[in-house]
Amino acid sequence: MISSLQVFTGDYLALWNIRDDNKHLRLVIADYQQQLDQYREAYARNRYLENELKFKKEENFPSLTARVIGKDPSFWFQTLIVDRGKSDGVIEGMVARTSLGVVGQVIQVSDNYAKILLTNAPSSAIDAMIQKNRVRGILKGAADKGYVLYYVLKNADVVVGDRIVTGIGGVFRSGIPLGTVSAVRSKRRGMFQEIEVAPIVDFGQLEMVFIDLSEKQKIAEEMRITVNPVVE
């Protein structure tokens, strides 16, 4: 009787200890979970930065890395705000890119920030071409719908999945990826096809962009801007 009572008391006390251990372990797990989340974020960020760095090294153009600090709060305008401005040598008309493709063009510059018009803005138009057969057209932004490629003749060979890159004219260098064809429609009337293009860049996920500093003088002349030398 006494021994069974001792066993019961021992088990009961052990349960109390287990409860404390359980509480402690739960806290430890929560702590590890938090650490794991941090490591995951750090890993993902590292991968992203590694890709961007690789791109920066491989692509041979003078670029300025800019962090995205804001997005246009209005649902009609597709612009980004970055933390680089006149003091870093940015001028209106410069091209913003990522490792994936074209992001947009600088439209307003202040001393320490710049506003970039995204390529999916309806006011944006880029000379583009279908990579496989070099057929050219004008790629216009369609906001949430991505892009629409205009002025491609009906006899041109275009299928869903074709890659669209920047064309020969304009401020964008030739061959930069823009997107892939997501739909092709050909109406009975008219000369041209209706081509929808899905952007290669996810504009909602942008963290940083590279501003192309090459051809600054040419852009400045085109935009009629006086370029001041950058103070180091």
Binding site: S74, T79, P122, S123
Partner: protein
Amino acid sequence: MLMLSFSLVGISLVVCQASIFYLFSSWLGSPDLVFILIAFMAYRFDWLRGLCLVLVLSWVMDVISGLYLGTYPLLYLFLFVSLKFFKEKSPVKEVAYQVPLVGVAFLAEYSGMYAIYSLVLPGILPEWSWARILQETLILTVATIPCFLLYNSLFEYMSKRRFVAPRILRKRSGNYFR
């Protein structure tokens, strides 16, 4: 103090809208909280103070948002003036229409803005979408209720609170022995 505190609230809202709201999922939309603040000011502030604040906030918003300068000052000034007139001329009790009127004003103003842009600068804005504009109107109208409660508490707190200058700033009387 009232002006200063509401200016700070407004500027914080502009910063939040530009730097945080785009991280939210798309179904939440991007409610224009400054629009709600201006509507509140039209209901509660007098003409002079209200107009001064509207101009300050709309200029700040203009720098952050949009492609063409002057859009937001026009939009917000029109909102403030129209709501203020409506409030002063309407025989109906203000509480009955306060929140729905903000939604109606948003719908009317943005539709008007779209029409003007389409006439003056065609192709600048995306295709008109009733679904999108109604979604944004609904989100804004729902967001108006907590925002109005918050702004009202701040307004009442700041109105009751008398600004007391620090001792060092107070003018001393000539009698130093008093």
